[in-house]
Symmetry: C2
Subunit: 330 residues, 2 copies
């Protein structure tokens, strides 16, 4: 019994964003089709003053017969200077679910960024207007770049309006995106100015209170709400959910800790106002966008099963291309 080992550099070479969009679609379909066992994740928050945390996300997908475990850490701020490693890292184990043999150990540092980036693109295909051309980014960090990278593969982006708290981050985002994609980036003076331009509005901040007001969002906008994946985070005025078509990655997760928690908690909507899961739309059991006027919201909290299908594809690609090192643990 041999286990394949893959380094971060190899993982980066072994999968394209186009493939990740495919694996994330597969994950959503499997999840909403009842093909997934995915326990609540567990985590350890290191005591202050050091801080930092590590989470463990486990998922089993019946359709690929893979069990995955991703450990991912973040917030170890002095890592680069004190330990010569990034402030967040990741590791993934893949088990063959027919025997529970460990078939792969791969670096997982890139995985969360990739599969989260792809989630926005999958929602754009299902929920954005066909004539959408302008994207607004609230938040201009790494994940904003991932969103653009993925969405640029599923639609023609004509311009990007961007806002973030930090002027340096905005300027850097503009230079990077214009350099990589040749798409003009207009830096907004205010959030409102940026949001009013959006066909598609993407939020990727660490916001802990409403950043986007309901009155700024024009009819027909598709919202990709990425930032809120745990209790205490918030990016939107809850009022925005009142007449929108609300789509989640996982109803149970979004009700519990997604952006959707806030309007539920404020009694602005009830549970019956949630249209459904993105996987249900992909499976054809629920409609996607039905007209050019509705505001659609995709609430993404992130699921172990996205790691599962994406890591499995990386593993298969490695085997096909003879990349990686085998080690016999047994």
């Amino acid at each position: 019994m041999k286990t394949l080992l893959l380094s971060k550099e190899q993982v980066g070479r072994l999968i394209s964003m186009k493939e990740v969009i495919g694996t994330v679609e597969e994950a959503y379909r499997a999840f909403s089709g009842g093909q997934v066992i995915q326990p609540d994740y567990i985590g350890i928050h290191l005591p202050e003053p050091r801080g930092g945390e590590i989470d463990f996300k486990v998922g089993y997908c019946k359709s690929n017969e893979i069990i995955s475990m991703k450990a991912s850490s973040g917030g170890f701020l002095d890592n680069p200077t004190a330990h010569g490693v990034p402030n967040g890292m990741g590791s993934v184990l893949l088990f063959d679910a027919r025997s529970c043999a460990l078939i792969c150990v791969m670096d997982g540092s890139l995985l969360t960024g990739l599969r989260t980036g792809a989630s926005g693109a999958v929602s754009v295909k299902a929920l954005a207007r066909k004539n959408a051309r302008k994207i607004t980014c609230i938040g201009t960090g790494k994940q904003a770049r991932m969103q653009i990278r993925a969405i640029s593969l599923v639609m023609q982006i004509e311009e990007i309006h961007a806002w973030s708290r930090s002027p340096e981050s905005r300027e850097c985002f503009k230079a990077d995106i214009e350099g990589e994609f040749g798409i003009p980036v207009i830096l907004a003076d205010s959030k409102q100015q940026a949001v009013e331009q959006a066909d598609i509005l993407i939020t990727t901040t660490r916001g802990k209170g409403p950043l986007v007001e309901a009155s700024w969002v024009k009819p027909g906008t598709h919202i990709v709400a990425i930032g809120t994946d745990m209790k205490g985070k918030q990016e939107f005025e809850p009022e925005i959910f009142r007449n929108a078509k609300i789509v989640t990655d996982s109803n149970s997760q979004c009700i519990d800790k997604g952006e959707t928690w806030h309007p539920l908690n404020a009694k602005i909507i009830g549970l019956d106002a949630i249209h459904g899961e993105l996987g249900e739309i992909l499976l054809g059991t629920k409609p996607g966008r039905e007209n050019d006027e509705e505001i659609t919201i995709f609430d993404s909290t992130g699921m172990a099963i996205q790691d599962n299908t994406t890591a499995e594809k990386i593993y298969r690609n490695a085997l096909e291309n003879n990349v990686g090192t085998f080690f016999a643990f047994l």
Copy 2:
């Protein structure tokens, strides 16, 4: 950044049972001393008819600054014939808690057996009569052997009385133990006959109902209750807890899913009847055995932190002895 890889064969050579007894004592002390963060474990039960399960146990120990994750599988009955691997396996990841860098990936197949075996011996040191010489084993599988291996290091065993449901298993146990330790094993015709002989009574079955009756247990006996580590399992008539000194590995786990759950559920004891955790006795904050007449019960459910301290010792021993292979995931 390099990660040490250790195979099952290397793990087996890298630690002695005597060292495991030390690491399990360290784990109990750290746990009862508030030095441990240990979330509830998560597991996946594969759907029938295949069956089988895999559990993920995570723990952080402040005193050694290690975060461990052990994945362990079991119940894949056709593995040896269909896949050429054991029906249960394990994998352990160790992270340096100061950076969350992955410092070691080791096979974890031997770990649960070793640290569970050691737990009984730690309890014997703290709770058995000093003149205890006779051990009774109810259950004669792999874990019964581990218990004897560990306990033989902390006391002089003069004879072993053994009972199990299967006559073949009993005979095989007798041959193995007499061969390895030179201790006479007397096979009992009934559980009662075996239990009545015990200075120390060890139960390691998969029992799902009472196997040992209260009236069979003589004063001064120390009970090592290993089998019951989840809801639905049971080895003792709950009455046995009424006047015994009840010691747990973790009060919260044993109340929830250990042997102790049964007398609590039957209202034979209240929570105040639990004497304390073994770690408290090791730390000196609670007394151990106080006279030769009391019946002591050690309820062992197993904790992630035992994996943590034991795997850390294996890792340190590997580094000291230049055993293992380094791989750069980053």
